[in-house]
Symmetry: C2
Subunit: 216 residues, 2 copies
């Protein structure tokens, strides 16, 4: 049972405050204040903030201090657009590994997604939607690709918490599109068709957003 170093404690604390939306974008992170709050000296705080800077969550201005990074709302859709390309690709490169078990699991998650929609459980919906998509690439053997996709899902989560804005879910359509995705996987349809469908599934949220923004 290895005890976390102080630096690690500070990192986890600050990081979760950011990803949970408690620290808002633009908020100053004052090293002395954080040190007092956590009963640590400034050094482990500074190291933790350096790590968070490298992850893009925090922006450090030399000699001025650190703030929670500002997020341009475009970024959500840029990441989503990039994810659209990668996820489709990851799914088709692991299509030969698809199992009956995985198909069953996807069906199960999609049932839970539908239930979350019926219960007006937005957070549950978002969490399960991510699970569904990560399940589609479960057997992706390209570790770099898998990790990158995971990081992108995390990034989307973080932006949603940091940036109050409208995030389109298209829940009813998405749920039925999930069923289609499962079907495409189960029947091992041509790679192109699978890749394009998954890509369009994600890009549809961007179109939805643009439709709403231009009409208001």
């Amino acid at each position: 049972m290895k005890k976390d170093s102080k630096q690690e404690i500070a990192y986890q604390f600050i990081r979760s405050r950011i990803t949970e939306g408690i620290y808002v974008q633009g908020q100053r992170l004052v090293i002395d204040t954080l040190g007092k709050e956590l009963n640590l000296s400034p050094i482990p705080i500074r190291e933790a903030i350096r790590r968070l800077e490298a992850e893009g969550l925090v922006t450090i201005k030399a000699y001025s201090g650190a703030v929670v990074s500002f997020i341009d709302e475009k970024e959500y859709f840029e990441v989503l657009s990039t994810l659209a390309a990668l996820e489709g690709y990851a799914v088709v490169t692991s299509i030969s590994q698809v199992t009956i078990e995985q198909i069953g699991e996807l069906h199960e998650i999609n049932l839970q997604i539908k239930e979350a929609l019926h219960q007006f459980n937005f957070n549950g919906y978002i969490k399960l939607n991510k699970e569904f998509h990560l399940c589609t690439i479960k057997y992706c053997t390209n570790k770099s690709l898998f990790n990158l996709i995971e990081q992108m899902w995390e990034k989307l989560d973080t932006i949603r918490r940091l940036k109050p804005m409208y995030f389109p879910t298209r829940a009813p359509e998405a749920i039925s599109e999930h069923e289609k995705i499962i079907s495409l996987l189960e029947t091992k349809q041509p790679s192109f068709e699978i890749e394009q469908f998954i890509r369009k599934h994600h890009l549809a949220a961007i179109h939805e957003y643009n439709k709403n923004v231009t009409s208001s």
Copy 2:
């Protein structure tokens, strides 16, 4: 003219030592030694190493120290495979922005690539090849996507320096494939065709590598 902080100096120093292959994978990075070498106290060294850890270049084991990260040779091809998907996508999403100037620039770079090959200038070839590919996505408006692709090219460069292994170039084929890419862009061929050609262009190196590895 802003003077770099000591932390920044340490970061740049260590980072370039790694990316230039002077520090080899697995090499211990001893904080005191680096501090003496740079005439700095341990704190800015530690902060720099934290940043490098977050970039994956360095692996820190708590209380034991930092080493230059080990690279699994698979990673090169995993990153290249992921890049294949992303670059094709980035090119087709910015196809409408292609200019005569860009086409001319691509031709020019490819001429220089051919010259580097004739002069047995491996490093020049690698550098120009990267330039060529970054030029194909020059007008990509999705900043996240552009930055990600740039980072991946950097990653490939770093792995090549850190990991002594065979890296297939297929130089003559690659050069003529570049010409084909330029032609596809110039004539605004269908997105699918462009995307697939670029993807296959990159994946061909992986096939080449596998061919050579299984035959030896």
